[in-house]
């Protein structure tokens, strides 16, 4: 029994150590590009690409080995002359909208863009009604007062 428990401990404690690659990071995972302008482009893009291994972090934020490998992809592609738009398209062609923190209007994302407009419209209508009522009625006999008493 005790031996089984010890074995269980050993397995659960050792697991996190095993669950990561021992390989060194990709060359451009933690190394900036020489050209500051290109590096600025790359890091702006990395802020808006989502890490696939971690919840709610960009690849710029994450220390996951795969995020490092994705940063390497971004930097080497920028250095090779690709535009950030092209690189984002490359990533979304593989991982879909999930990978991008810069949502575009699509069949699944349109409510995101429509909702604020609909809310503004509703607010506008309510305001119009209210202001219209107030202007139309005499101050002492407004309907609001009537209901309150």
């Amino acid at each position: 029994m005790i031996r089984a428990l010890l074995a269980l401990c050993a397995v659960t404690i050792a697991a996190p150590l095993l669950a990561q690659s021992a390989m060194p990071p990709a060359p451009y995972a933690y190394v900036q590009l020489d050209d500051p302008e290109q590096e600025a482009q790359a890091s702006a893009l990395m802020e808006t690409l989502r890490c696939l291994k971690c919840q709610s972090q960009s690849i710029a934020d994450s220390d996951a080995p795969m995020a490092g490998d994705m940063r390497h992809q971004v930097r080497t592609r920028i250095a090779a002359g690709d535009s950030p738009t092209e690189i984002r398209a490359f990533m979304t062609r593989r991982y879909g909208d999930y990978v991008s923190y810069q949502p575009e209007v699509s069949a699944t994302t349109w409510p995101l863009f429509a909702a604020p407009l609909v809310l503004l419209l509703i607010i506008g209508l309510v305001l119009l009604r209210r202001l219209g009522e107030r202007r139309g009625a005499a101050p002492t006999t407004s309907r609001d007062d009537g209901e309150r008493t």
Partner: protein, 175 residues
């Protein structure tokens, strides 16, 4: 009318609370499906991951019967769990091509010695380049590749006993 109007915020609250409650009852999957399914395999060539077993390039998937492309790593625990099931697929006559992600030759050799080798070839993907090309978000993942080198199906996570017949059916389907 106006009294009903004041109930609107409450209705909106109840709607969202209900929605949240409903979503809690739904199965949550963290899997990010690849958009590369039904696309041709990209061009690639990976050097051997270990001595004695050839590396992998796109040409290895063209001709003959459909194959499985298995993305794994010696440091990945679920890969140990799926090893016997890969062995079963191999016994069924399926060619399995391995991609070892972020792995070292010694570690790969040790893994194969301990858990068996179901692979005809193993390519070394040292900085996850092919993984990203394929739209894979983790290890292990398994792809069904038809004899023209097109990606036809993606299985995310480890292969279990019940996955084996499903993969065999998929392989037959794309033959």
């Amino acid at each position: 009318m106006s009294r009903l109007f004041y109930l609107l915020p409450l209705a909106a609250f109840l709607f969202f609370a209900g929605l949240a409650g409903y979503m809690l009852t739904q199965d949550k999957t963290d899997a990010v499906p690849s958009q590369m399914v039904e696309q041709p395999l990209p061009d690639f060539a990976l050097k051997p991951a270990v001595d004695g077993i050839p590396g992998v390039s796109r040409a290895d998937f063209v001709g003959g019967a459909p194959r499985l492309l298995n993305i794994w790593a010696s440091w990945c625990l679920p890969c140990i769990a799926e090893a016997p099931h890969l062995e079963r697929l191999k016994e069924e006559g399926v060619e399995i091509v391995g991609i070892a992600v972020r792995d070292e030759p010694e570690a790969v050799a040790q893994f194969l010695e301990r858990h068996g080798n179901p692979y005809s070839r193993i390519g070394a993907d040292e900085i996850s380049e092919l993984m990203i090309e394929l739209g894979a978000s983790g290890v292990p993942e398994t792809y069904v590749i038809d004899a023209e080198g097109n990606i036809r199906y993606q299985h995310i996570g480890d292969i279990r006993a019940e996955t084996v017949p499903m993969l065999l059916a998929k392989l037959e389907e794309v033959r």
